[in-house]
Each structure stands twice: as C-alpha cells, then as structure tokens.
C-alpha cells in the first residue's frame, strides 16, 4: 500500500476542478493511455491571469491528486507566476508523494508548460521541439530529464525513473540516463567550483593514475556491470590509455558493448581524469 499523505487522499477522493472548460484558450495534453497515465489541462486566461483551470486525468490516486493540486495552485495567478511553479511545489502542496510516484507531479508541470505554450500560440512539435526521445517506452525526452534533474536535484538513475518513468520498462536506456545524469552532475560541479581561478588540477603521476583507475574499476564500474551479469577486467594502463576486457550479458547486441565501453570511459573520466581513453581488448 502506498503511503499517501492525508492531503493526497482528500484530493483523490474529492478532486477539485474536474472537467472540461468549453471555451478554454489554453489546453495542454500529456501522457497516454498506454503509458498508464495521462492528463489534459484546460485554462481560461484573461489579461494575463489564469481565471479558471480544469483537468481530466487517467491515472492513479497520486495523478488525480497532483492534477487537482495544480489547478488549485494556478487559479488566480498571473501567467508569469504560474510559470515559476515547479513539480517540487506541487509535491509540497500535497505534503509529499511516495518516491515512485514523483512522475505524477512532473506530469502536472509538463501539462502546464504545454498549456501555456498553446496559449502563446506556439505549436509544440511534439518531439523535435522538446529535445530527443531517450526512453522509447514512455516517450521521455532528454530535455525533460535534464530539467527534472536540475529542479529536483536528482542524484541517481533510480531517481530519474521515479520522477519521469524513463528507464522503468525495458531498461535499455539506462546507460543513456547514466550519461545524462553524469553530464548534469558535472555541470553542477563546475558551477559550484570557483570559475574565476580556473586553476587546473595538478596532473596525476603514473602510479597515482593507475591506482585511481584500479579503484574506480573495482569500486564503481564492476558493481554496475555485475548488476546486469557483466564484468570487467583491467589489463593495462599506458599513459592515459586504459586497456580493459569487457563481458556483457547480451552477447548478441554489438550496441550494448559500445555503450558498455562508453560507460566505463565516462566513469573513469569522472573519477580519474577527464581525458582518459578506454580501449577494449
């Protein structure tokens, strides 16, 4: 049983603002019946103020509650104010959501985005406009994933799945999610670092580099691979070239070996030096 807050329970049993606004001048539609949740948001905007908001949703208790919360939060607000609402705010309004249900709040935020774009007269070309689809199962784009990582300060691939559903079905995009996450974390890191000094780290000595490579493989990379039944062996370190042998689970697909190599390289670059090159033997 989900641990829903009382507020969530009240809102899914007695949701407010259910229905259609016949003369809505902003409509946002997200999700699909196949994915298991969908939301259509109708807004009536006059003089830059959201006069009315209604919704229809196909989804679980938390999807209904999140949708209801969103409409309650935006009615009476100016468009500028509404734009600032994040999925975090929806979660706060609800007094919290179970981790695995966070995607319901993101769906609310997405519907609002789409509705406001629709009001401005922007034609949202589903895929092209919003970045590239990363998770084919649920049609999640990298743009959305990056946004959600930033707004919610996500730290793991599991978090990404909880918040966006990406990676939650066939799992074939997990490596891509990992890459996106690492890029975002690095960005955060470089923003946090002092940008003025621009001081480069001291170059590693050979012996230190070898130690770091070995530690990263043993402590970080191997556990990831072994989770899926794969493994890695460190063969040699020559300057910044790291020679490894990889074993994947899915021997038929060449593609998975390529992503495996990318994963190893990304991890070594993250933890050792950012110009490490991985060579597979």
């Amino acid at each position: 049983m989900w641990d829903y807050t009382d507020k969530v329970k009240i809102l899914y049993t007695k949701p407010k603002n259910v229905g259609v606004i016949e003369d809505a001048n902003a409509v946002g539609e997200v999700g699909s019946i196949v994915c298991g949740d969908a939301l259509t948001l109708y807004l009536k905007i006059e003089d830059g103020i959201i006069k009315d908001a209604k919704f229809q949703t196909f989804g679980c208790g938390s999807a209904i509650a999140s949708s209801s919360a969103l409409t309650e939060m935006i009615i009476g607000k100016t468009v500028e104010e509404a734009e600032k609402i994040t999925n975090r705010d929806i979660v706060e309004y609800l007094g919290g959501l179970p981790e695995q249900k966070m995607h319901c709040s993101v769906m609310g935020r997405e519907a609002l985005d789409k509705a406001l774009a629709n009001w401005r007269g922007e034609e949202i070309e589903e895929e092209a406009h919003e970045g590239e689809i990363v998770c084919q199962c649920f049609g999640v784009t990298d743009a959305l994933i990056r946004k959600v990582i930033r707004e919610n300060n996500l730290k793991s691939v599991e978090d990404i799945t909880n918040y966006t559903k990406a990676g939650g079905a066939c799992g074939s995009c997990i490596h891509k999610l990992e890459d996106i996450l690492q890029e975002e974390l690095k960005l955060q890191q470089s923003c946090a670092d002092n940008p003025e000094t621009g001081e480069k780290k001291k170059p590693l000595t050979n012996i230190r580099r070898m130690q770091l490579v070995n530690e990263t493989i043993v402590d970080v990379i191997r556990p990831i691979l072994q989770k899926d039944g794969g493994d890695i062996e460190l063969l040699d370190v020559d300057g910044k070239k790291v020679y490894v042998a990889l074993r994947g689970t899915c021997s038929q697909c060449v593609a998975s070996m390529v992503t495996l190599k990318n994963l190893v390289e990304a991890k070594l670059r993250e933890f050792v030096e950012d110009d490490i090159e991985v060579i597979e033997k």
Partner: protein, 397 residues
C-alpha cells in the same frame, strides 16, 4: 475505518480460520517444547506435527505422509523444488516454465539464466491457456525440470497439469507444480497428476502466513537447499514452526471438509462477474471463463486506471487488487496480462476480485452497488471517456 471490510483479495492472502487459531494457540503458550527433544515435553509436540503432515498429505492425495515437507512459504517451496532438482542434476542445463508464473518461479529462473542455464518460457494465448505444443516440443535431453503453476494467481486460469505431467513422465523429465493458488479451491490428487513436486502455501487457504509445504513424490531426486539439522529428514532443516505447521494441518482438514462450499463461492463469483460484464460498456474479462478456480475473476476496465479504482473501492471498505502498473510499484502492467496480450488500455484498468468461503451474498451485492459509483466517478475524470463519447475522437495512444 469503522465499517467491516469486504475482503475480496483472497488470492493475496486469506483470513486465518478461527478453528486454525484455536488449534495453534497452545503451541504459543504451554506447549512450547522442541519436537526434537528427548523429553516428553518436547517429544509430544512431534505427534502434532505428524498429525498435521497427515492432514496435508490427505489434502493433496499423497500416498505417504513423509512425502510432505514443511517449508516457510510458497516461495520457499518453489525455490526448493527447482533449485533442489537442478543441484541434483548439475549436467542438465535447461529449465522449462511459463511466462505467467509467480515471481517466486520467474525470478529464480531469471537468476539461473544469468548463471548460464537455458530457460524456455512457454507463452499463453489471449485466454491465458498455455501453448502445450511448444511446451512438448521444448523438452530435450538437457531438460532438468519443468515448472508450471496449477492455477494462475491473477486470472485463476487452471493449466492442464495432468496432460503435461503424463507427457513428461513418459519422457522421464521431472515436473514441479506451483499449486499455491489451487490448494483449497479445487480438488487436488497427486495420485492422478503425474508430477514429482507440488508446492502449496498455508496463508492462501486460511492457515497463517509463514508456513508452506512441498510434496516430494517418493523417490524423487532432489537435494536440500538448506543444510543443518535432521528436521524433516534433513530435507528441510531448522527447528519447526510448530504452531504454523499445526495451523496448516488444521486448515488442510477444513479445506477438505469445505471443498463442497466452493460451489457456493463460485455462484457468488459468477454473480459478481456476470453483473459487472453486463453493467459496464467499457469492461472485459481477462482469462478463460471455464477452466478457472471458482473464486477468482479478473476484469479490465477501459479508460480508467486500476489503482484509482482500488483506492476508491478502499474508501468504500472493499479490498481488491489490480494488475495496473501504478498499483504494483513498477511502471508496467502485470506480466501475466501482458503475456496474454491484454491491450494496455484495459490492463491498466484491471481489477481482480478473489473470494473465499467467508464471503457472503450481501457483500457481493454491496460491491455491485458501489462499483458503478466508483467507475462513473473515474470516467468523469478520465480524458478518454469524454473523447470517445462526445467527440468520437480517436484515442491517442
């Protein structure tokens, strides 16, 4: 909740029968001895375990009481049967099972796959019936064990284990049946089912949670999965869960006595099911109508979502379950419904009602009264229903 719960989730677990509780209580109070002890205080408890073993043997139609080994749950029975046989035959590297098994079997097989075993997962048709030809064709010299559930926990569909067993016996391949959802619901007689291993779990037929049994036909080659003392003839060491075992014995006795009651359960189930199917335009049955355990019905509502239905029913004091993605905590609907090719649109809105002999006609009437309100409220919220009805617009999928 002030009202009494209308409990229609008996495939998840059942009420412990009052007679069972009563039979168990002495073993939590004055009769706490260890059955292995050399004194009467413990030794007498051994007799109660043997009585329970006899009752369970009777429930399954076992020829000898010692063919029953008590376990801690259905999951353990499934693991014991499959792992125990595989470790006896280390050179046989092929397992056959089905796509609709309980995770207790499926996830174990997936683990063996990672370890290099070959696993064949037999598919099912839209009604949940196994592709028997494929099963028969898959058997090879390398096949160590075939594991098939007797009745499916989500749809109640019964698999033709007699036919499968007869074929496998001829080929000399060991056959395990996960009978967790069959025990107590339909007659079981291993004298007529050519199987070697049969798993049951107490809490599915009014015994407590945490006790189960594996039937091991005399002479079956199997190794233990736990090593330790001599309990259960060394096949399942560990000091016995005496109270649980006695409870399961009592529940087995009651199950045999009340088996005719299942006719009444079936009538209630049919009433519920028929009225649901007749009443709603957006609903369909998941699973075969015949060849089903008498207590289970699984219906798929289109355009509304299963967890929401459950939560609304819950508000009205009705307990059921769903194969929707949301309710399971995963992001995909039930593997059983997907294997059957149930469209996602109705898999997301699937509801399972599972009854027991403790359900009454009033409870079914109450459910039938409440359900339309619940469905209507959710249809009102749903973006798809309106689209269909008012605009005739294609559903965006």
């Amino acid at each position: 909740m002030n009202k009494k719960t209308v409990y229609l989730d008996n495939n998840a677990t059942t009420m412990v029968a009052p007679e069972v509780v009563e039979a168990m209580l002495p073993f939590y109070t004055e009769r706490y001895g260890n059955p292995s002890s050399m004194h009467d205080f413990g030794g007498r408890v051994e007799k109660d375990i043997e009585w329970a073993r006899h009752e369970v043997a009777q429930l399954l139609g076992a020829e000898h009481d010692y063919e029953i080994v008590f376990t801690s749950c259905g999951t353990e029975g499934d693991n014991f049967a499959i792992s125990g046989v595989l470790s006896y035959f280390p050179n046989k590297r092929h397992i056959i099972t089905t796509r609709v098994e309980h995770p207790a079997v499926l996830n174990l097989c997936k683990q063996y796959e990672r370890e290099g075993y070959r696993v064949t997962y037999i598919p099912v048709d839209r009604q949940g019936n196994l592709d028997l030809d494929m099963l028969f064709d898959s058997v090879s010299e390398d096949t160590a064990i075939v594991s098939v559930m007797h009745a499916n926990n989500e749809t109640g569909v019964i698999h033709p284990v007699e036919k499968i067993g007869a074929f496998l016996r001829e080929r000399g391949v060991l056959f395990h049946i996960d009978g967790v959802q069959a025990a107590g619901k339909i007659p079981i007689n291993v004298a007529n089912i050519p199987c070697d291993l049969y798993t049951i779990s107490g809490h599915k037929f009014h015994a407590p949670k945490g006790v189960g049994a594996l039937y091991i036909r005399r002479g079956t080659r199997i190794r233990p999965i736990l090593y330790g003392g001599h309990q259960e003839r060394g096949r399942r060491p560990g000091t016995e869960n005496v109270a649980g075992i006695v409870g399961m014995g009592k529940a087995a006795e009651l199950a045999r006595k009340f088996l005719p009651e299942e006719e009444r359960v079936k009538k209630l189930r049919d009433k519920l099911e028929n009225e649901i199917l007749a009443r709603f335009p957006n609903v369909s049955l998941n699973g075969a109508k015949e060849q089903r355990v008498p207590n289970t019905t699984n219906v798929g509502f289109e355009y509304i979502e299963g967890e929401a239905i459950l939560l609304y029913l819950n508000e009205m004091g009705i307990a059921a379950s769903s194969g929707s993605a949301c309710s399971s905590g995963s992001l995909e609907p039930s593997h059983v419904l997907r294997a059957m090719g149930v469209p996602f649109t109705s898999a997301h809105g699937s509801i399972r009602f599972s009854l027991s002999r403790y359900n009454t006609e009033e409870e079914i009437d109450y459910t039938l009264k409440v359900l339309p309100e619940v469905v209507d409220r959710l249809l009102e919220i749903s973006p798809y229903w309106d689209n269909e009805r008012k605009c005739g617009r294609e559903i965006k999928v």
